[in-house]
Each structure stands twice: as structure tokens, then as C-alpha cells.
Symmetry: C3
Subunit: 346 residues, 3 copies
């Protein structure tokens, strides 16, 4: 994949504090995988398993760790964290597109909203009264921001993000298309007339450097706020219910749902398709395997799992039949114990 500007290997190494081995003036104009990189591109090796591919790569340079220092004669960057180094190098080669400040004439901006002169407001976007849009903010086409929404400096909204009234997004956070922040939580009381809606009067507060994937939803708090702390990364199609708090630098993979009032600590890693019931406390440093269900609070860091990998259908159906018959097998086992006891006593 070709970048718009070329950089010398030396310049790229500087972005991640890596050491250059070989020709530091090698010009790099793109990135590629070990297998598919073209001349002029830089690639990376993070897993020694893939060392074999290294000898065949057509890349012009490689990022790798000290242990693989001599695994290739190509110009290279030696880094103690080659993957993070690759991230920095790729950021240099593929920066965010330059923002063109200004408000597109088709946008509808309430006169009481305060928009920084350096912000870019895309076509068809709607911004409510009292909103505050910081320096260098990019709002893509078709977004809708309710009253008094605050976007701090450097926030990026891709097309068609909706933020309900009163929510606040920390600096440099990125929201992808279809994200809905601040919709009403699922709160109602039952009486004889049916379900009575409980007004959801809290907000959603998003910290700095958060990224939220496409079509993910975060509900506003019922009374207090729903909070996503700094550095959190949420994948696509995640549902975060009202009153949750997600701790700093926690990452959550796609299709996961967190029920209301659950608090997740910092530096957790939650897999995809996970469910958590409400009102839990998950401590810092917890990993939840994909497709697992959490029904109790967790007080010890570690890995938690309840998922079952597939088997050929017939094998699984036999296992399942035995699982359901377990109470009978257990009864039978107990009967055998007694019979043996009798035999021993005879």
C-alpha cells in the first residue's frame, strides 16, 4: 500500500526510537506484509514463527526485534517492540488526512454553538445549541450532535455519528461511523398500565484517546453518568449499557454487550461476543475469553472463560446428550458406590 510521501529509513526509525542497521538512506514509500510487500515498502517481523517468510520478502526494509537482528541482510530497524514500532512508522507514512477548517454550507449549526476556527464541519452535519467544538476537530458528513455536546481538541468523528445532548468527548478520541452515544438506557418500571419509562438524565463522558468502532452504542446514565476512561478502545457493534464505567486502557472486541451499572477496571482485555450481566465490579487486569459470559464480580486479575469450541455436529450432539443425562449418570455412580460398599462388607 503506497503512501503519499516517502521517508528515509532513518526518519522512520526516529518515530519509534529504533536502531537502523544497513543503509539508513533507503527510501520507503509504503508498507506491506512479509509475503506481499513490494520494493520500496517496509514490512515487520513480530513472530519468529514467520522467519521463513523473511528470506523471500521483496520489501526494501524490515522492522524486527534484537533477537532477529541478523535474520536478514535487508536494511532494517531494530526495536524492542517491533509491532509498536511498525505502528509509529505506519502513522508517519499514513497520517490522518489533513483537515480543511471550516463549516460546510450544508451543515446546520445552531448559532449558540461555539466552533473553533481550526475545526472542520462536514456536509449535512447538524450541531445543536450550546455545543462546543475544540481545536482541530474533524466532524465528517451527516453527524448529529445534540445540545451542549462538547468535543475536545483533536476529536475525529467519521460520517454519521450521533451524540445525544450533554455528552462530552475527550481530546483526540476517534468515533467511527454509526456510533450512537447517549441514547436512553433500557430503564423502566412495571406497573398495572405496563412499563413506565424512567427518564435517563445522566450523560456519556468519554476520556482522551479513546477509539470507538462502527455501530457501537453507549447509553447515557440513568441518574449519574456512563463513563469511558482514557485510552479505552472499543471495537465495532459493542453495546455499553447505562451507568457503566470502563477503566483506562481497557480494550473490548466486537459484538460484546455490557449490561447496566457494571464497572470494568483498567487494562482489561475483553474478547469478542462476550456478555456481562449488570451491577458487576471487574477488577483491573482481567482478561475475558471471547464468547464467554460473566455473571459475578471478579476480584482477581487473570483469564476467565466459559466458551465451548465447536466440534463436528454428531460428536457435539452426543456430548450434549451425555451432558443432559449427567444427573442420571451421577445417580448411577452413587448407586454403584453403595453396591461396592455392600460387596466389601459381605
Amino acid at each position: 500500500m503506497e503512501a503519499t510521501h516517502s521517508y528515509s529509513l532513518q526518519d522512520l526509525a526516529a518515530t519509534c526510537g529504533g536502531e537502523v542497521v544497513g543503509d539508513a538512506h533507503t527510501l520507503i514509500r509504503g508498507v506491506g506484509t512479509l509475503e506481499l510487500a513490494q520494493p520500496g515498502e517496509i514490512t515487520f517481523l513480530t513472530n519468529t514463527l514467520y522467519r521463513d517468510l523473511l528470506s523471500q520478502t521483496r520489501a526494501s526494509a524490515v522492522i524486527l526485534s534484537a533477537v532477529d537482528r541478523n535474520a536478514t541482510p535487508l536494511p532494517r530497524i531494530i526495536s524492542d517492540n517491533p509491532y509498536a514500532c511498525y505502528a509509529r512508522v505506519a502513522q508517519q507514512l499514513f497520517p490522518f488526512p489533513r483537515i480543511v477548517p471550516g463549516i460546510h454550507p450544508s451543515a446546520v449549526v445552531d448559532p449558540t454553538a461555539r466552533i473553533s476556527a481550526s475545526a472542520s464541519i462536514g456536509p449535512q452535519t447538524v450541531i445543536g445549541g450550546g455545543a462546543i467544538i475544540g481545536e482541530g476537530v474533524m466532524i465528517g458528513p451527516g453527524c448529529v450532535l445534540g445540545e451542549n455536546v462538547v468535543l475536545e481538541d483533536g476529536v475525529r468523528l467519521y460520517p454519521r455519528v450521533v451524540i445525544y445532548a450533554g455528552c462530552r468527548i475527550g481530546p483526540r478520541s476517534i468515533l467511527h461511523s454509526g456510533v450512537v452515544l447517549g441514547a436512553d438506557g433500557f430503564g423502566m418500571a412495571r406497573d398495572q398500565s405496563g412499563w413506565v419509562k424512567i427518564p435517563q438524565v445522566g450523560r456519556v463522558l468519554i476520556g482522551a484517546d479513546v477509539e470507538i468502532g462502527a455501530n457501537t452504542t453507549v447509553d447515557r446514565g440513568t441518574i449519574e453518568d456512563t463513563i469511558i476512561e482514557e485510552g479505552v478502545k472499543l471495537d465495532n457493534q459493542i453495546q455499553i449499557a447505562h451507568n457503566c464505567r470502563i477503566g483506562a486502557h481497557t480494550v473490548i472486541a466486537g459484538c460484546t454487550g455490557i449490561s447496566g451499572s457494571t464497572r470494568i477496571g483498567s487494562n482489561c482485555r475483553i474478547g469478542g461476543g462476550v456478555g456481562m450481566v449488570g451491577h458487576l465490579d471487574i477488577c483491573d487486569g482481567v482478561t475475558v475469553s471471547g464468547f464467554s459470559l460473566i455473571t459475578k464480580s471478579i476480584t482477581q486479575p487473570g483469564v476467565y472463560t466459559s466458551s465451548i469450541p465447536s466440534q463436528p455436529h454428531r460428536t457435539w450432539m452426543e456430548t450434549l446428550a451425555n451432558l443432559r443425562a449427567l444427573p442420571q449418570w451421577v445417580k448411577k455412580l452413587r448407586a454403584l458406590e453403595q453396591e461396592i460398599q455392600k460387596l466389601k462388607e459381605e
Copy 2:
């Protein structure tokens, strides 16, 4: 959380038929939780477990049940359903924002659509030919309504709702951002050329007082209509497939998927992350635990479950290995039975 208007405790009690104990003129200007309420705010106690918090609350008034009548010296509302009473009180303090009737000049409304004079049509909204928009309807920015869509009186659409042609929404129903109603169901027939699309010519019909959460999708029927009856509440990111029927006052939590042609009765409670296969009949009054799978029709009210809570990874992996070995254990158990039989016969 502060409201825009203050009310006396007496006025608030009237909204839910509660009894005031203490100073009925206490002015309330907001709501708060037991722990975080500020002076001037009203809070509520629905669970005797939290009675301890009552002595420390800074709230100016409390809603509680008769059994907790004397648990606090604060001015209070006694109700036989304190949670529903809180809902009514909060609705009084935080009413829906007043609607400003009119059609925003940036909206694109087909001349054959009939829009009530009391309706509010937000910026960038698009309304197709033959649509009918009732009294007091609020349509937020960026919504798209296809041809002949009908919104009955008092419907509220948050920003960026899409309703395909011909669908109908009952009075006072609320649709949150990103909802898509009436997209084509997943219907196709296989022939030698690949998959042949089956036209989806039914509609989606939504009853009165329904609420549908952000990014939830309800597909139109294949031939007949998909129907959501009155008082149903759907959380975020739910998928309701073509030809389903969801009975009155049933609630469904987030991330649940209901396959095609399944009918769910009234007053059911379906948890989050649930799956139901197609063509089922679920009777009234069924509760499905979160993260469970329903594969057969249900004819008896009650609670149904198949979810497995997580354990520490190593514990679960041992359990899983034993589960998969079950057929062998069962074989061994049967062999032991026979051996014991032999021993007894000796």
C-alpha cells in the same frame, strides 16, 4: 442531576398516587442516587438491602415503600411501587423537551406527504411520498422515511432513524438513533446460478407505546407483516427477523437476535445476548435468561436457560476436557456396572 423546574413534594407525590410523610412543601429540583444525591434532590429506596445508605443520603426527600415508612426522618413519599413512583416523579421533573412545530428548511419532504401542523421535522430529514405524520410527532435530524410510512400521534424519532416504505408506527412510540425498520428480510432460494433474492413485500407494524433502542433492526415481512405489539420495549442492537411477532409488553434486552417467523407471546422477558431460531412459538409469560439459546417452541410460562457463567480459565478448560470425554466416562461407568453385576453373581 438538576431539572429545569422545581416541584413541591406534594405535587410529585400526586404523579404516582403516593402518600407524603413530612413537609409536603419541600421543594425538589432534581434527582439523585442514595449515595450521590445533593440537597434539593429526591432519591428512592426499592431494595431494603440499601437501607444503610439511607441514613447517609444528602437528598431532601425519598420515595420508599410502606415497609420502610419509618426508616428515615426525611420528607418522603410512601408508595406501594416505589420504583414506578420514581419513574413518574422523574418524568415530571424531566419531561421530554418541548417540540417546536414546523419543518426545517433543510428537510426534503415529498409534496404528497401529509404532515400535521403540530409535528416537528428536523434538519436534513427526508420524507417520501404518501407518508403521514401525526399530531405532535417529533422527527430528529437526519431521519429517512420511505414512501407511505405512517407515524401516529406523538411518535418520537431520534436522529438518523430509517424507516423503509410502507411501515407504520403506533402512537407515542420512541425510536432511538440508528434504528432501521423495514429492511429486507434474509430470504433467498438456491438454484444453479447461486442465491435468488425473494422479494420482501410485507411491512413492519409497530404498536402504541413501543420503545426501540439504538441501532436495533426489525426486518419487513416476506409476504405478511412483521409485528411488534403495543408496549413492547426493545433495547439496543437487537435483530428481529422477517415475519416475527412480538407480543404486548414483552421486553427484550440488548444484542438479542430473533430468527424469522418466530412468535413471542405477551409479557415475556428476554435477556440480553439471547438467540432464538426461526419458526418458534413462545407462549405468554416466558422469561429467557441472558446468553441462552431457544431452539424449540415453549408452551409453559417459566424461566428457560442454557448459559454458562465463566470460571478461571484453567478450571473451565479442565471441565471442558471432561465434558468432551463424557462419552468415554459413560462407557466406563457401564463397564463398571457389569463388573459389579458379575461380582454379585459370583
Copy 3:
């Protein structure tokens, strides 16, 4: 459901190569189910189980297979694939609405985009620089297409689809409302500062005759492209992560999530609510049961399952308790084996 035009049974039979039995001039003006069809409508029988309904139907004609040839005296179409025949007949009766070529004045189209004269660009749609829009393309209201997006001939976008820069959609593909194609994949590297974003510089490439359901998301590739091959059908609310490849004519039901870099073969059938971990290779012709988890590559066609159907809550809780106690039961079973061995040796 009534169509806009009527057709003779003969004309309809021609769409699917079926044989007419009975009055070939019977006029058909709509479709209905066996139970609810009205006079003038055509219905179909694909499952001999429903033969009883056939005698009561009020339909004016029926599509059925040769084996049911004499099961009704009604005018009928005999087909060796009655369901596909119904699809073709219904397509004839309910064609896509005619496209009115032109660009709505409220759309914002970059002057460097190339739009075919026969394309229809709906209100409020935004099209970026360098985009190419083919013949007969329909773009509904409120869509956003990034720079250099290519829509080949006959593509249909329902309202509010977002396609990020550089993605390409093959001829005749259909994208439903809320679809987001080409958002950044969930890629980041950890260093001492937190998570470092890895630029996602690949694209999404969609083949011919693909259909993608409402609110489904497909992420762009990290370096290479994410690819959906021809004839693939994706239901609603599916998440396809970066670098995946979905093979031709594979169908995936709603709420399923496929993790990054997984490749699924052609002609697979993936159920709803399925999860797949990343970096897998699934061969052609695999069926995955709904609600199952795939954690390993699959090299043999067949059906794979790990889902557990619900039971009454108390029954399941007993089973679950026994499941968790399995390691103890297994220990006990082994102890019994030894005791029996001792008894035998006595």
C-alpha cells in the same frame, strides 16, 4: 400483498421455466401464503408437510413440485425447485422500484466524482472526490461515500449507508441502511504509553451480486484488503473484521462476528450469533450451527456445532452444577474402578 401489475400464470411460469397445469391465462396480481392468500394471488408449497393447507387456500394459483402435481385442482406451476421458482415469480410481480436518474439538489457531490447519467443520487447524500458511480446505480438518501469509492453498475444503496474511502462494490450488489464498509479495523500495539493505533490502509472489496443487511459492518484491511466475494449474502448486524475473506456464495445469518484475518471458503452456511476467532481457514462447504464458536481452522466440509439449547431453568442449573463437578465425578469413578479391581483380586 398486491403487486402493481398483473401477469398471466403462463408469463410467470416463464420466469422460472416451470410447467403450467390448468388455466394458463389465470391472471395473478399478487402473492400470499397458503393460509392467507386472497383470490388473485399465487402461493407456493415447498414442504409436503403443509399439503393439508393446500386444500383450504384461497389463492388462485400454486407453485409446487412434480411430486405434488396432483395435490390441488388449482391452476399451478410445476417446478423442480418451487422455492426458487417462487422467488423468480415474486421478482416479476414486485420488481425493484424504477430508478429516476439524476442527482438530488440537496446532495453534495465532489466535482471530481464521475456519476453515470443513469444513476440516481438521493437527497442529502455526500460523495467524495474521485468516486466513480456506475450505470443504473441507486443511492438512497443520506448515504456518505468517501474519496475514490467505486460503485459498479446496478449497485443499490438504501438510505444512510457509509462507505469509507477507497472501497469498491461489485455490480448489482445491495447494501441496506446503516451498513458501514471500510471503517478502521481493531488494530493497535501496546507500548508504555498505552495503545498505539495501527493505520488501517487496506480497503474493502465487495464482489458482484452481494447483499449486505442493515447495520452490518465490514472493516477495511490493515495492509491488504478485506474481501467479500461474489454472491455472498450477509444478514443484519454482522461484524466482519479486518483482512477477512468470505468466499463466493457463502451466506451468514444475523449477529455473527468474524474476527480478523479469518478466511471462509465458498458455499458455506454460517448460522446466526456465531463467533469465529481470528486467523482461521475455513474450507468450502462448511455449515456452522447458529450460536456456535469456531476456534480452529476447518479442513473438512460438514456441520460444526457447539451450541446448547435452553431447558427449564432448574433443570439446566442442576446439569450445570453436575458439569462443574465433573472433575470430582471422574475422580470418584476412577476410585471405584480401583475398588472393584481390589474386590476382583480378593
